[in-house]
Amino acid sequence: MNEQQLHDKLRATGLGGIGELESSARDPFVVVEASVLLEVMAFLRDDSETAMEMLHNVTAVQRETGFDVVYHLCSYSRHHSLTLKVIVAQPEGEAGDWEPAVPSVASVYPSANWHEREQWDLLGVRFNDHPDFRRIILPEEWIGHPLRKDYVYPSTFGEIPLELDAIPLYERDENDPPKPSEPRPAGTPLTQPPSEYSTRPDAGGRAPAPEKKGES
C-alpha cells in the first residue's frame, strides 16, 4: 500500500480529526488530532491490511508556533511506512517554559516508552498516561530541557560547577605550584617522539634502536 491508500483507509474508519495527506513532502505525512491519536495508532497496528507492527521513531520538533510530535510507523510484513504528526500550537500568552502535552502511545506500542521519555527529557513535551514518566538521559534533578531553542546552559548543577575549565584536570600540589611552561619556538611539534625510536619512512635520519644493557 502506498501512503495515499493508507490515508484513504484511515479516513474510512470514520474517526474525526484526521487531516489531509501532505503528499508533496519527501516523506508524506498525515496530521492527526491528539484526541484520536491512540485510536488511529491502534487501528494501524491491528488492521490486517495496514499491519504497522513497529513504531520506529518518536520525535518532537520545536517550531516558532509550537511543537510537532512526529511518529514514524512501519510495517515489516507489508513493506510500507507512514508518518503521523500531532501539532500542538503554543497558546497565546504562554511563556517559554510552556510544556505541550500529548497522549502517550506506550500502551499501543511499548517501544514508545523510551522514545517519549527522551523527548520529555530533552525537549519538555509531556506524554499523558505514560507508564514510567521520568527523565532518561539527564539526572532526575536537572532543570530545563536542553534541546529547547531558548535553553541557557547552566553554570552549576547543584554544587558542581559546569563551566569549562572550572575543574582542574588533576589536583595540583599547593606547595609545588606548576612552573609556567617555557615558550616554545614556532613550528616545534608538541611532543617529539624519541628520534632513535622513529622508524617512519619519512623520518629522514634513522638511528638503530638502542641496545639494552645486559643483552648481547
Binding site: 516523506d27 513497529m54 521513531n57 520538533v61 520545536q62 515489516y76 517501544s111 523510551w114 530533552l122 538521559i137
Partner: protein, 389 residues
C-alpha cells in the same frame, strides 16, 4: 525454565531472606561501556531490573542544530564509533534526500564496500567481546587481528583508523588508491579461513553453547513491541533486512546475498546463541557482497561536481524534512532532519538502534540468573556512545 525452578527459594519462614539491590556498572566490563543496570536480586535470581543510561550523553542532537550539514558528519562518527562508515552513510543519505541529489555510481559502489567492511569489523568486536563476557579470552585476540586488517584498509582512503569521516553528502571524500581493491579481495580470501577457525574456537564450543542456548529468549511479538532491529530482530526469526527489502543504495539491488535468520539450532528460537550466530553468518554475507562489489566496481567520479563547493559555502537545503533508515551492524539507524532553509537544521534526530535494542533489557532480565545477565547484555551488542548520543 524448568532448570530455574530448582533454584528458587522456598517460602520458609525460619530462614531470613532479604532482597539485594545490585548495581551492574557503570564501570563494568560486561556492560560494554558506561551503562548502569540496577538489579533486584533474590539470591542469584534477578527479580527486577532498571536501566540507567546517559553517562555518555554529549548532546549530539543539539550540536546538529548548531553546525552545518557537512560539519555534522564527523559527529555521526562518534555515535556508533565501531561502525563509523555506516553512520556516515546514513547521514549522507539523509542530507542527499533533503537536497534531492544522488551520489555518482562509483561512489555508491565504494560506499557499499566500505560499509560492509565496517560491518565485518563491528561484528568482529561483537564476537570477540562476547567471548570475553562468557569467559573465552582467546577469540578476542583473533577478532582484533582481522579487525586490524580492516582498519588498515579503511585508513588508506579515509586517513583515520576509527572515525573515518569518509562518506560525505554527495559522494566520498576521495577515491581509493589503485591497489585497494586487490587488497580488499586478498583480505576476503584470508577472512574465510579465519572465519572457520572462529567457529571451532567459539561457535561450536560445548561450553559456549551451554552458556548461550535457551538464554534470553526474545519472542517475535516482543521484538516488534520494543522496536528491536538488526541481528536482534533476525535472531528471533524475522527475515527483514533493509538492504534487501528497502535498498537504500543502488548496488544492494544488484548484488546477491542472503539474510541469515535465527533457526533455534541449539534451543529455543530467539536465544542468545541465535543472535550470535546471525552476526557470524552476516560477516560471510558481507564478504559475498564485497566480492561482487569489487568485481562490478565502475569507474568515474566519486563526488558530484556541484557538491564539491559545499566545502566552501555551506549547503542550504529548502525547507522540509527527511527521514532515512539504514541497516547498521546493530540495527536500523534513522536520521530525521527538519530544515527551515538555513545552513543548519532546526531538528536533527538520530534513532539509534542500540537505544531501542537496550529498551528490551528491562523485560528480559527478570527471572534469569546474574551470570546470564552478562550473556544477555552481550548478545544485544550495544554501543553506549549511540545509546546516549
Amino acid at each position: 525454565m524448568e532448570a530455574l525452578e530448582m533454584y528458587t527459594v522456598d517460602d520458609r519462614s525460619d530462614v531470613y531472606t532479604e532482597e539485594l539491590k545490585l548495581n551492574l556498572g557503570p564501570q563494568h566490563p560486561s556492560t560494554h561501556g558506561v551503562l548502569r543496570v540496577e538489579l533486584s536480586m533474590d539470591g542469584e535470581i534477578i527479580t527486577a531490573s532498571r536501566c540507567d543510561i546517559g553517562y555518555l550523553h554529549r548532546c549530539a542532537e543539539k550540536i546538529g542544530e548548531n553546525v552545518t550539514y557537512l560539519q555534522y558528519t564527523p559527529y555521526t562518527d562518534r555515535m556508533d564509533y565501531l561502525a563509523s562508515m555506516n553512520n556516515n552513510l546514513a547521514w549522507s543519505l539523509t542530507v542527499e534526500k533533503l537536497l534531492g541529489v544522488e551520489a555518482p555510481e562509483r561512489a555508491q559502489w565504494l560506499r557499499m564496500i566500505c560499509a560492509e567492511l565496517n560491518r565485518i569489523a563491528s561484528h568482529l568486536i561483537a564476537f570477540g567481546t562476547y567471548g570475553i563476557d562468557i569467559g573465552a579470552n582467546t577469540p578476542f585476540f583473533y577478532a582484533f587481528r582481522e579487525r586490524e586488517s580492516i582498519m588498515a584498509l579503511l585508513e588508506r582512503p579515509s586517513g583515520a583508523r576509527m572515525l573515518y569521516n569518509y562518506i560525505q553528502p554527495g559522494g566520498l571524500r576521495r577515491d581509493v588508491d589503485e591497489n585497494w581493491v586487490t587488497d580488499v579481495l586478498a583480505f576476503c580470501d584470508d577472512f574465510e579461513k579465519r572465519w572457520a577457525e572462529y567457529n571451532t574456537l567459539l561457535s561450536n564450543n560445548r561450553i559456549f553453547i551451554g552458556r548461550t542456548a535457551n538464554i534470553g529468549v526474545i519472542p517475535q511479538d516482543v521484538v516488534y513491541a520494543c522496536g528491536a532491529t538488526g541481528p536482534v530482530m533476525r535472531g528471533s526469526g524475522i527475515k527483514w533486512d533493509l538492504r534487501r527489502d528497502v535498498p537504500y543504495l543502488k548496488p544492494y539491488e544488484e548484488v546477491d546475498f542472503d539474510v541469515p535468520v535465527g533457526e533455534g539450532t541449539h534451543g529455543t528460537l530467539g536465544d542468545c546463541w541465535d543472535r550470535y550466530w546471525v552476526r557470524m553468518r552476516e560477516m560471510m554475507e558481507s564478504i559475498r557482497i564485497i566480492r561482487q562489489g569489487c568485481a562490478a566496481l565502475p569507474g568515474g567520479e566519486v563526488m558530484e561536481k556541484v557538491m564539491k563547493k559545499m566545502y566552501k559555502t555551506p549547503l542550504t537545503p529548502e525547507a522540509g524534512e527527511a527521514y532515512m533508515r539504514c541497516e547498521n551492524p546493530r540495527g536500523e539507524l534513522g536520521f530525521y532532519v527538519v530544515a527551515e532553509g538555513g545552513t543548519s537544521p532546526i531538528r536533527c534526530r538520530a534513532r539509534a538502534p542500540s537505544f531501542c535494542n537496550l529498551s528490551l533489557l528491562d523485560s528480559l532480565l527478570p527471572g534469569t540468573m546474574i551470570a546470564d545477565a552478562v550473556a544477555i547484555i552481550g548478545s544485544l551488542d550495544i554501543v553506549l556512545g549511540e545509546v546516549d548520543r
